[in-house]
Subunit: 139 residues, 4 copies
């Protein structure tokens, strides 16, 4: 069951991101997904900047997938809707639906984040605080 | 005399833009200046996306300068204030003050845009409509 | 059966691509895959710059996947080995193995390219020339 | 007097760097200059990755300028020639000439690097080792 999350993030397609056809270069979609992820985490009180200094773990992306249904044109305002389709023992998956202004889905990104202990460099179970926040955020 | 312009644009410093010290990579400041320029022009009704198809001229950047006074840290919200310090015969200069939330200036960018005829590839005088809009925007 | 292709491309991890941990930002791996794709196509005589002007079709990426096994550190020299695991009627898949200097695989990217008619905007069969070149390149 | 330096660095203009006109987006030129700077410093034995961990100082860019004379088209091979026009007490300037294959200059970038003490955060004199290497590199 895909859990629904209330977090939306919007951005505009800038000139420097589009290719010769005036369409967003495919790799940039992953960057926008990560921008949404950052704000989502900051909104949970787990901002990537804050945790950077005092954290015992990191959450590297071990897998990333995108499906492109329709192009993103220069100037378009895009909304990203975040859900968490999977919350595992030591990893979780974030999903990003990219919607154009009328609400039509243009693309979807999925990122798998693994929880890694900073000292050992090995996978570890998600900290309880983080798990609780992720679970609560996604009703 | 520097003409004042009412246009402000805000953005946040994202994770993927900062270096190992958690500070914005210097070259990205120019990209943010251009993002502000795009919105400024769109606001004048001269959006880069619209003009792309039906235009007789382009406005390439022939010179770019940045002065860095203080670092931009990850997560910081930055406001860009645009002015037009020079409006010439066939070129104009846009200036970008980058302010942190308290209003302190962290950096300044200046871009010189030259008006080039698309057919001949040579510099030409700024079209009257564009000149009038730029002059009016900057009281 | 994965067809082997002789094409390798190397690059270095630059300062502006790494995050606070000194590790390549995940989304940039897709950009490097596309850089390798460009050179691979140019090597086949199907360079993206040449075909841009006179082509009847485009080859947009409809799906992109990456699996990250080990980090790419600042300064590392990386070799990308390209194979074509699937050559279909109207689409093909390119695969990119990212190897560190000792030959250990650090990541893999897969891109699905669909052939789209420029006039109708619909999927079409791959042109014979392109299909033959792709098939020949991958012994 | 501009001191001549023997260091050259080459790169190719990739698809994702060009705009709708097939021309390098202006801000990316600064990134290429920094890529050349990295390799130049590594060549001197002062690689940015090595010094990152054990250094007492950083060399932030306090000013950056570019002049664009001719466009960089997709697929073009560009050579960057580095010189050091100024070696001061606590700062130095690096200059980058961007040459197309026939040797014609398409652009020039200048970066001013200031030496900052990591503990105090204030400008300090350039370390003797670094000064000697920079002076020797540029006959």
């Amino acid at each position: 069951m895909t859990k629904k999350c209330s977090f939306d993030y919007s951005f505009q397609i800038h000139f420097h991101e589009v290719d010769r056809a005036g369409v967003l270069f495919f790799a940039h979609l992953f960057t926008h997904a990560h921008d949404a992820y950052e704000l989502f985490m900051a909104n949970l009180g787990m901002g990537l900047d804050r945790t950077w200094s005092d954290q015992e773990y990191v959450l590297p992306i071990v897998s990333a997938t995108a499906d492109y249904h329709a192009p993103f044109h220069h100037g378009m305002t895009v909304t990203v809707r975040i859900t968490i389709p999977h919350l595992g023992q030591s990893s979780f998956t974030t999903s990003y639906n990219f919607l154009e202004p009328e609400g039509r889905q243009h693309a979807q990104v999925r990122l798998v984040h693994c929880c890694v202990d900073i000292t050992t460099g090995k996978a570890r179970v998600l900290p309880d605080t983080l798990r609780a926040l992720l679970a609560r955020a996604c009703v």
